[in-house]
């Protein structure tokens, strides 16, 4: 191997090792802004909100009768309330930093 190749390789190796070992060497723990459960609940909440909007759009563009819309909307909002309650419990248990 030529000298240049050896030096370049060693340099690259050094950079790689620096990048890869940084989390192991630094004392601080990586940020944990949310517990996995909270992240999951937030994702569910977002999905539920989207469903509520979709249902409203379905109704306004004439795909649902008024009665059916009220039924679906009510069911969706009830499901949303469940998620929001769970989120509130989770937030009370471990407040975000």
């Amino acid at each position: 191997m030529s000298v240049l190749a050896v030096i370049s390789t060693l340099l690259l190796l050094a950079v790689v090792m620096a990048v890869v070992s940084r989390p192991l060497l630094s004392a601080r723990t990586p940020d944990e802004p949310r517990t996995p459960e909270r992240a999951e609940l937030e994702a569910e909440r977002e999905a539920k909100y989207r469903e509520i909007r979709d249902a409203e759009l379905d109704y306004r563009t004439g795909k649902l009768s008024h009665e059916d819309y009220e039924a679906v909307n009510g069911a969706l909002r009830a499901e949303a309330v469940v998620i929001l309650d769970q989120l509130q419990e989770d937030q009370a248990a471990s407040p975000p930093k």
């Binding site: 191997m1 030529s2 240049l4 190749a5 370049s8 390789t9 690259l12 190796l13 950079v15 790689v16 990048v19 890869v20 070992s21 940084r22 989390p23 192991l24 723990t29 990586p30 940020d31 944990e32 802004p33 996995p36 992240a39 999951e40 994702a43 569910e44 977002e46 999905a47 909100y49 469903e51 509520i52 909007r53 979709d54 249902a55 759009l57 379905d58 109704y59 306004r60 563009t61 004439g62 795909k63 649902l64 009768s65 059916d68 039924a71 679906v72 909002r77 009830a78 949303a80 309330v81 929001l84």
Partner: protein, 725 residues
């Protein structure tokens, strides 16, 4: 430099091994710093492979023929543009491209999800690094792009002229981007199963990657079809070739997945189906990659020897077995939370669409791998041809297009039957009027399937048009905006829905193009002498005169070809001039002294230069195969071979010029391939509409919208809380 490149690969392999270990250790022992280190290994891998790729590119651009790959696929006289592309025209280079692209996408995805889904992404990191490591190991042990020969040859073999086309620059990277992007959802799917977290977070993350994979793969497929049509002297865009099919199958599964994922998002159903689909998409992508380079199936792209086949078969076997194991061992957790509320719901239409798409995939899979299947089952290898594929895919495609028009009109969860019935009036009228008009015009006589497709497409246009119309009306009622602003706002606030509608329009347009161009094509293959004309469909094509061009000196850097013989064709309809076409055949230097000092200059593989006039209603396509083997022309070459020394190619070129002049003076009849294809342009336009719609759907929604909904929902909740009390 080659040594440095080779060292990079070994370093990369080490990084993969470390990253896999660190990620798995981090997730199993709950030590996030190790997971973080594992994720950073992916970043490091991307860096290393970028360096390695740069080294290889530089070698090509600098004509470093000590690199075996460079000597095998490039030459000093290859135009620079194609030198850069030649990197991935070889086995070794394409493996490096694949691994590099995989590392780039993995870096992007892991960076975007760095604060979420810790467990899942740790496993996904390990799996992605596993794939990267596999491809790097293939390079290190089987097909090293940095292998060298000492002493280096003075000149390379050169890039196959067939590949010298701009599409060939873009098609492999685009297709590989699609394939490697399919690996990302697979990794996250397996990760989710391993971490036992197949849930809303996973859905949210996976959806975007899957759509991106779908988009890139689709573009790659379209580019391949377009290249085949406009460059190859065959005049077709799809031949049900094994390699074409191999790229279509993961795309079909990805399409199914994008739809069925929405069902899981809304109803918590189809979890097993979804993870299976995402695993199948990734596995099919690997199988597609493998097919191109294994030669196990007879196909137009039969690259590679059996040496590389064994590792791939092992990988695919591992993928299939581990997928089956993971899904069955997690089936408790994958139980559906709900059932279908009603058959008349968008969910149920999506289910139907999934069945059709998977059915299509199965048909294509069966037909593509039939030689292997029949060999295994009967001991004799047999293959099925395009007619068999057409017979089964066409009806399924019809149903698919029809469903894509029904879906937009049906509500989620449970549609009101009376409303649905009313909503079908306009789309059905559009379809029926189209039917009546086409029948009356006698356009679609004798082609019931094409007629059916036109009507289905019209149905889709009517359905989606109605949706847009109504949506704009709702928006105007709510916000009082003028129509154009309302349209923009509507799409911005409901990107998924309205972007998806655009995709459906694009698909309908595309299928109209396919149906028209395959059912109503007029093709003609015949010999013409100058002055003669022929009729193709409604057009008259006259061979006006021959053309010839010779590069002035032996200096192929600019065009690459030494001699180009062609024709000027006059295309007219009902006496009116429509277009002038100039198809030609380019001849190249073969570099083989055995062909003689003049013979080798034009003895290389010729490339057909297609000439066509594209229009909204039809394409007129032409190709020529001029006859350079007439006794007269052959004598010129023979005399040149005998009298001119091979070491003076400039003098050889003079002989070629003499040949060209002789060809012009007394041109022999030439073979022409002429095609008039209606609505081919609709295929490319449809493809672009699909891509546009996908981009709309992919684009993240403005965060203001999310916040607005949040506020409203919270206040409603408060109200409901009061009501309950």
């Amino acid at each position: 430099m080659a040594q440095f490149g080779g060292a990079c690969l070994i370093l990369a392999l080490g990084v993969c091994a470390y990253g896999i270990g660190a990620s798995i250790y981090g997730v199993r022992t709950g030590r996030p710093e190790f997971s973080e280190s594992g994720r950073r290994s992916v970043y490091a891998l991307a860096g290393i492979l970028t360096v390695a790729f740069a080294v290889l590119e530089l070698a090509f651009l600098r004509n470093d023929f000590s690199f075996n790959t460079v000597a095998d696929t490039s030459s000093a006289t290859t135009p620079t543009f194609y030198k850069a592309a030649a990197v991935w025209s070889s086995q070794e280079g394409s493996l490096l491209l694949w691994a590099w692209l995989l590392s780039l996408w993995s870096t992007l995805v892991l960076f975007l999800t760095r604060k979420r889904m810790r467990d899942v992404s740790s496993y996904a990191t390990a799996i992605l690094l596993g794939f990267g490591g596999f491809f790097i190991a293939l390079m290190v042990f089987y097909a090293n792009p940095f292998a060298t020969t000492d002493p280096a040859p003075a000149e390379g073999v050169g890039l196959d002229p067939l590949l010298r086309h701009p599409s060939m620059m873009i098609h492999p990277p685009m297709l590989y981007s699609g394939y490697t992007l399919c690996i990302v959802p697979l990794a996250f799917g397996m990760g989710a199963l391993l971490a036992r977290k197949v849930d809303a977070e996973w859905i949210k993350a996976t959806r975007r990657f899957a759509m991106a994979a779908w988009l890139f793969l689709g573009i790659g497929i379209m580019l391949g079809a377009r290249w085949s049509y406009s460059e190859l002297g065959w005049g077709g865009y799809w031949g049900w070739d094994a390699v074409e099919n191999a790229s279509l199958m993961p795309w079909l599964c990805a399409t199914a997945f994008i739809h069925s994922l929405m069902i899981q998002e809304k109803r918590g159903m189809l979890k097993v189906w979804n993870v299976s689909l995402v695993l199948a998409t990734g596995t099919l992508a690997i199988m597609g990659t493998f097919l191109v380079r294994s030669g196990i199936l007879s196909s137009i792209h039969a690259f590679g020897g059996a040496t590389l086949g064994v590792p791939f078969v092992v990988l695919i076997g591992v993928l299939i077995l581990s997928s089956i194991y993971l899904v069955s061992s997690r089936r408790e957790m994958l139980r559906s939370e709900h059932r279908l509320d009603s058959l008349l719901s968008r969910e149920s239409i999506f289910l139907a669409n999934n069945l059709v798409l998977v059915g299509l995939c199965f048909v294509i899979f069966w037909g593509t791998y039939f030689p292997l299947i029949s060999e295994a089952l009967t001991g004799h290898e047999a293959s099925v041809g395009p007619p068999w594929f057409d017979r089964y895919t066409v009806p399924l495609a019809l149903i698919l297009v029809l469903l894509s028009g029904i879906g937009p009109v049906i509500a989620w969860r449970r549609a009101t039957f009376a409303n649905a019935r009313r909503n079908f009036v306009i789309p059905l009228s559009v379809a029926l009027s189209t039917l009546v008009v086409l029948l009356a015009a006698g356009v679609a006589d004798g082609k019931p399937l094409a007629l059916a497709m036109f009507c289905c497409a019209a149905f889709v246009m009517g359905s989606v048009g109605q949706e847009y119309w109504r949506g704009v009306r709702v928006r105007r009622a709510m916000a009082g905006e003028p129509a154009p602003l309302a349209l923009v706002a509507l799409v911005k606030r409901n990107r998924r829905r309205y972007g998806g509608y655009v995709v459906h329009i694009g698909i309908a347009v595309l299928f109209v193009g396919v149906a028209a161009s395959s059912s109503f094509q007029h093709a003609s293959e015949l010999s013409l002498s100058p002055g003669q004309s022929t009729k193709v469909g409604a057009y008259t094509v006259r061979y006006v005169r021959p053309t010839a061009a010779v590069t002035p000196k032996y200096d192929p850097v600019h065009t690459g070809s030494t001699l180009s013989l062609g024709a000027v064709l006059n295309v007219s309809k009902h006496g009116k001039h429509v277009a002038t076409l100039t198809p030609a055949e380019d001849f190249y230097d073969s570099g083989e002294p055995a062909q003689g000092s003049v013979g080798h200059l034009i003895g290389g593989q010729p490339v057909s230069q297609v000439s066509m006039d594209g229009g909204i209603t039809r394409d007129v396509w032409s190709a020529i195969a001029p006859n350079i083997d007439t006794p007269r022309l052959k004598r010129i070459v023979e005399i040149g071979n005998k009298t001119l020394p091979i070491v003076r190619p400039d003098e050889g070129m003079i002989a070629v010029a003499v040949l060209a002049r002789e060809y012009l003076k007394s041109p022999p009849p030439a073979e022409f391939h002429l095609i008039v294809s209606p609505l081919v342009m609709w295929i490319w336009v449809g493809g672009m509409i699909v891509a546009g719609g996908a981009l709309i759907a992919l684009w993240p929604a403005p965060s203001a919208v999310r916040a607005r909904v949040g506020v409203r929902a919270r206040s409603r909740r408060a109200a409901r809380g009061l009501a309950r009390a």
